[in-house]
Symmetry: C3
Subunit: 350 residues, 3 copies
Amino acid sequence: MTRTATLAELATLVGGELHGDGTRTLSGVAPLDVAQEGEISWLSDLRFAPKLKKTQASALIVPPEITDPPRDAIICKKVDHALAQVMTHFAPPVVHPPQGIDETARIAPGAKIGDNVAIGPYVVIEQGAVVGDGTILHTGVYIGAEAHVGANCTLWPHVVVRERCTLGDRVIIHAQSVIGADGFGYYLHEGRHTRVPHIGGVIIEDDVEIGACSCVDRSKTGNTVIKQGAKIDNLVQVAHNVVVGANAVLCAQVGVAGSARLGSYVLLGGHVGIRDNIELGDGVQVAACSCVPQDVAAGAKVAGLPAIEFRQYLRESASLRKLPEVIAHLRELTKRVEQLESPTDHSPRR
Amino acid sequence: MTRTATLAELATLVGGELHGDGTRTLSGVAPLDVAQEGEISWLSDLRFAPKLKKTQASALIVPPEITDPPRDAIICKKVDHALAQVMTHFAPPVVHPPQGIDETARIAPGAKIGDNVAIGPYVVIEQGAVVGDGTILHTGVYIGAEAHVGANCTLWPHVVVRERCTLGDRVIIHAQSVIGADGFGYYLHEGRHTRVPHIGGVIIEDDVEIGACSCVDRSKTGNTVIKQGAKIDNLVQVAHNVVVGANAVLCAQVGVAGSARLGSYVLLGGHVGIRDNIELGDGVQVAACSCVPQDVAAGAKVAGLPAIEFRQYLRESASLRKLPEVIAHLRELTKRVEQLESPTDHSPRR
Amino acid sequence: MTRTATLAELATLVGGELHGDGTRTLSGVAPLDVAQEGEISWLSDLRFAPKLKKTQASALIVPPEITDPPRDAIICKKVDHALAQVMTHFAPPVVHPPQGIDETARIAPGAKIGDNVAIGPYVVIEQGAVVGDGTILHTGVYIGAEAHVGANCTLWPHVVVRERCTLGDRVIIHAQSVIGADGFGYYLHEGRHTRVPHIGGVIIEDDVEIGACSCVDRSKTGNTVIKQGAKIDNLVQVAHNVVVGANAVLCAQVGVAGSARLGSYVLLGGHVGIRDNIELGDGVQVAACSCVPQDVAAGAKVAGLPAIEFRQYLRESASLRKLPEVIAHLRELTKRVEQLESPTDHSPRR
């Protein structure tokens, strides 16, 4: 990282209040524990305030609660937001294919390619497909027939977008993900699993980001839909006809079965499984490794296998920890009751 | 979708009984809730019969139980099968590479390529490999040395079939899946994990379908085998030396550990884990998100972590819901017994 | 398999003691159950000793406990190690791209390519990247700008190594895996999930092996680290800023959330989930399908959802099996106590 900035420049960049020497030159950003002289660090959680005194960082981004920071600092209300801007400033440039269309890219006649695109080597774009202005397609990306990719999207190497799927603007899809593979649906006919045609597609709305090696299957009819601003991590499965709500967050290895509907701002922890055909209301949160077998009302927080209301889950987990001794206790109590029931002697303790 | 058909034509196509106006022209197929005028819909589950009256569909596919359908209709015993045929009729064409071998495909001398193949750009086929008649290889597919791909297979973009693996006829493999990567086996030698050579292969029999981003590892010796007609979803792991039975169904994100053996028609729900070296008999069903640690007899249905017999699982789940109050109750009962045991006073209720 | 060897040659190869006819020619290796005449088999677990008499194998590799093997044999202390050497001997050659750089490989000016590399078709290597001596890059591999790949690595088809990531020597990465995709981190800004820049990288040390379709995300700052000799299976997620200890083993479909730290020789069974920011000490073992929500001390063995100490997990599982009857028993006992409490009659059994 060779980009530098003065503290005053960074304060202006993030709209924060400068505290101390604005002429100090900074050359990088790092966490409190590992920052070196010449770097700026940050405090986003007040619990870690004691670390401020020990850090080697030359400058700090701190919230207003830190009234007297022990280093030159930028004081601002939204440290996370300021930090993202500072990190973006110091970020080394990311190399994309150069603007234009690589000579090895295979673009079918009739495909419509926007302005200022960057289409890398060995990309294949089938007939009738559309690629919007400013979109970046890395090496080996495949855009199927009549698929639409919006403007200013970034598709990393080998991403596959199958025929008739639609991506909005500013969509990011990481390497190897597959959009629009056939949904997994069969019916049994004369003893054989026979494919249900999946003639629908996938709609991915604006500002969605999808991780690496994830799959969003095409629908039977209509569309599988990932709504505006949803964020999906790596190795996630979104089955046919699912609707993922706006700004939902699906962590790595989540699986959402066919026709499930997730509301806005739903948050699914890693490894969560969602049953087919159920509905999770807006803002539902599911703890990692849970399996949700039925509808969950908006705003609820659930956990477990099967997933239940979160506090009940905690109570049951705590109770389960005691179960072996509960059983021993019950056995002992039973003996005491037997003794009480004995006609000759009701009182065991003499 | 611009293909059309009259209702009479569709009735003939599916071998159903025409009810009403056979000359009606239809232009698409959609579920009852969303079908529009000019489209045909269907009823595959009698529970949804009330929807028949509200649908905007112009025609219906219904089972014989619906003796007086409220729209022009095709009456047939197997609605699922009829629907698949109708959907296939209305399905827009899927674009594959054109017949022939793309000029950028890299085919090693000595590889044998059948007739009427469609081999897309940037495909690599290594020495001694065989590709059967009518098979479609999309862009970037890799066929390793001496691998055999049968007739009329479809391999979607970037599928990797490693050396000496064998695919039967009509096998479909979706984008990014990997057949024949080295099995995950090591032994500890002088403190280091040392690879066990996996010199076997993979055999995938006829009519198997494998989803996107799935992995079937090669065996140590002999072969990992996916038997005839098995269907495997996305992001599934099938480890070295596993046998997946004929017509088995493995939903998304299932993991089957080394040398496990699954019988015919085994059904594994999403996210299921199967321990290494165990056997699941024919027709075993495992509920989603379960983890199976031991053999399961043919026909059994299991669930849970660890998986147990399904009704027992339901009983335990219901019991667990009560556990916190059970513990409270036991505590209270213990007090009552203590009171009964007290020599001075046996009766708590006065 | 057409390579052959005499038993004496194999005994020399593995440093074992020859027992019987050293001139016998062998042409392959297979397990006791399936080995045919002319093949050598092995016994690595004394429990299977009874199989020795029934095998069709012509020769055996056995441990010293088998003092009088029923076939010509090699006796050696470390059967696993000997077996690996014998299997390597009989292994058919694996076809890699030929030495040199394929004419279709796209290597940016300024990338440094070592000696004796084998770079296959359609590989893309960006500016400033380094590829070490003897490294093999299969078709479609992508090496991002300023990434470093060490010597004698093997990257299978379509592996993606993003910008500024570093691989040590002898690293193996199977097909479709993605190293250095952006970490999954957002903060909520004006109702939208806003990306946290991930300006760090990934360091993969010497002798690491990573399976197919696995993901190791780049860090926010600093590096995600996979230490020397760790082995990672297929479809595994390693999130941003994670540290995987030396010689750790992560089975298929494991997910490790952001900033978790795994010690040396940690062993994670299939489908395990590890929470973000926790630490697992050296040698921790986690049973398959478990979810670990908190730190685990070195050497501990845990299981369950949430994961707890292994023996406690077994006790609880056994107790849970009894829970329905425990509840019935408690109900019955309560009635007996009520009867005892009844002022008119303390004794239920007459």
